[in-house]
């Protein structure tokens, strides 16, 4: 059980690794933008889950897209995990959240792993590799390490790699993070909720599932060899939504016996049944970003009848950690159902 003390230590471990203090802002996913939209479930969604937002009616949603890095400087063009936190506003005034990122799998299995990761993957200088070193890499059939981005002097890459070298469960997450790139638009990336949830159907059957948002516009990254631009994603999403909405499909993959239900580092095979649960239509970027993008507070365990958490210890840890972080930054409290 992760209590408030451990949750505070988790948040402090993240804050200790920031390149700069972020004040009353989120310690990670600091830079983000709120977007408004509607969600309508597919015709089959209610056969799998009795949660209200899957009943086929139209629900208002609040979405916050974000860059994964912690820090006050915006680096849209850097290779980085992106976030998509979604709140479905329910009929009784409550809400239910779904938090997803472009990372398909997480890099630690539990809280102890996370503390060890935070101890090893600390900020360290990131010098440019010399041409001679790069040539030696080529001779060893390695891909030479990329040059630092403009103004990038340090990162956690070396430590994360060291951690992954010693922990095979972390290798997929760390490898994916290393090659993830930068999307041309927040609306052109796939986002994965990573954890397993349990959904209940009208007959009371409970199934383990994982959720992903897939962009109707398709996935597209920027050129990794070009000089990255620092600020374009906010303007791009606002411009994109002026003439026409952007859409995402919510896909739900059903796990089977033997699949990892409590380990977000393990992927499920592509052979699992996946169900189209609904379509999200993003319509506009609200003007009050302080309220809609900053003070709004999400929690991956804010769930409604019909969806429950699994035994995933990272998911359980996020319940308290997000609340501690919200309190520390003065985020807006929200009613739990």
């Amino acid at each position: 059980m992760v209590d408030a003390t451990v949750a505070k230590q988790l948040v402090e471990a993240i804050i200790a690794n920031l390149p700069e203090p972020v004040g009353k802002r989120r310690p990670v996913h600091t830079i983000g933008i709120g977007v408004k939209g509607k969600f309508v479930a597919s015709e089959v969604a209610r056969d799998y889950c009795v949660a209200e937002h899957f009943n086929g009616e139209t629900f208002d949603v609040s979405v916050r897209f974000s860059n994964g890095l912690g820090g006050l400087h915006q680096h849209d063009g850097w290779s980085d995990v992106r976030g998509m936190a979604t709140r479905f506003h329910l009929s009784d005034g409550n809400g239910t959240d779904l938090i997803a990122t472009t990372l398909g799998e997480f890099f630690v299995r539990n809280v102890d792993d996370f503390f060890e990761f935070a101890r090893i993957a600390t900020l360290a200088p990131y010098p440019k590799r010399s041409a001679w070193q790069k040539f030696l890499d080529l001779l060893q059939l390695k891909v030479p390490q990329r040059d630092p981005y403009p103004n990038e002097t340090q990162n956690v890459n070396a430590g994360a790699l060291r951690y992954a070298d010693g922990h095979r469960f972390a290798q997929l997450g760390v490898f994916q993070e290393g090659v993830i790139g930068a999307p041309v638009s927040y609306a052109r990336a796939s986002y994965h909720a990573v954890h397993t949830f349990m959904v209940k159907d009208p007959d009371g059957v409970r199934r383990p599932v994982r959720f992903s948002w897939q962009p109707v516009a398709g996935v597209s990254n920027s050129d990794p060899n070009a000089v990255p631009r620092d600020k374009y994603l906010f303007e791009e999403i606002a411009k994109r939504l002026q003439p026409w909405p952007a859409r995402f499909m919510l896909m739900m993959t059903i796990g089977e016996d033997g699949d990892a239900l409590d380990d977000p580092t393990k992927p499920w095979p592509g052979t699992r049944r996946r169900i189209l649960m609904g379509t999200l239509t993003l319509t506009d970027v609200p003007k009050d970003q302080e309220k809609e993008g900053e003070r709004i507070s999400f929690n991956p365990t804010r769930l409604h009848d019909g969806i429950e958490v699994s035994s995933d210890p990272i998911l359980e840890a996020r319940r308290c950690t997000y609340e501690v972080s919200r309190e520390m930054r003065g985020g807006c409290p929200f009613r739990w159902s």
Partner: protein, 238 residues
């Protein structure tokens, strides 16, 4: 970044992208590293799994070099398939576990790609029973095929022969192929003293050992459903 690269940086960057360097590296560096860190061929076919959906819509990808490497050899292969159309459909309808099957000629190879439900050995065994003559007609045109013909008289040897020609299926996630390499070496440790930066080299050496592979475990529009379920749902009868 491109903007602040010096002459030597640009040279190395260009070298890494240069086809000439890749060719030279293939003749020199790849054999050198293959001798220093030998890699065994990984076995073909789907990864063994107990979960139901992993045993549905399995892939078989056979690449079989023709004996006669010329348009005549390729025409013989094309004719062998064309002459057996009725036998193929009859087998397909009787066995009832194949989503689709294709015969393709690529260069001087006859390839058979299929998607089937259930156990691989049963799949081949069923087809030996129903369309053994088609297998015989095709395999007699293929290098090394004569040892297992007629397939009806060499059932187990034929199944093994086919399995040995089934392509290794590179997993969907990059690091899972490292797990396949470790499993082949009997290394099942949860953690090791690995070097993730060597992943590109390990992939190169693996593709040297397995020159032909299937990339990914297959991308399915309706995963988790068998031929029988699809036909029933669509009202096609059995």
């Amino acid at each position: 970044m491109p903007g602040d690269q010096g002459f030597w940086d640009r040279l190395v960057t260009k070298l890494a992208q240069c086809d000439g360097f890749k060719r030279v590296a293939s003749w020199t560096l790849v054999p050198f590293w293959a001798s220093r860190t030998p890699v065994k061929p990984l076995p073909g076919g789907p990864h063994p799994a107990v979960q139901p959906s992993d045993n549905l819509q399995c892939m078989m990808n056979l690449i079989m070099p023709l004996k006669v490497k010329s348009p005549i050899g390729r025409a013989e292969a094309a004719l062998a398939i064309a002459q057996n159309k009725d036998a193929i459909y009859a087998g397909l309808n009787n066995v009832g576990t194949v989503h689709f099957a294709r015969f393709v000629i690529v260069g001087d190879n006859i390839c058979m790609f299929s998607v089937y439900d259930g156990d691989f050995t049963n799949y081949i065994r069923d087809f030996i029973a129903t369309i053994g003559q088609v297998f015989n007609a095709v395999v007699e045109l293929v290098e090394g095929g004569e040892e297992v013909l007629p397939c009806e008289d060499h059932v187990e040897a034929f199944i093994q022969w086919v399995h040995e020609r089934d392509l290794y299926q590179v997993p969907d996630t990059a690091t899972d192929f490292l797990r396949d390499q470790e499993a082949l070496k009997g290394d099942t440790a949860v953690s090791g003293n690995d070097d993730l930066t060597l992943l590109p080299r390990q992939m190169i050496l693996q593709l040297r050992a397995n020159p032909n592979v299937s990339l990914g475990s297959g991308y399915r529009a309706y995963p988790g459903f068998s031929v029988a379920q699809v036909r029933k749902q669509l009202g096609l009868g059995w």
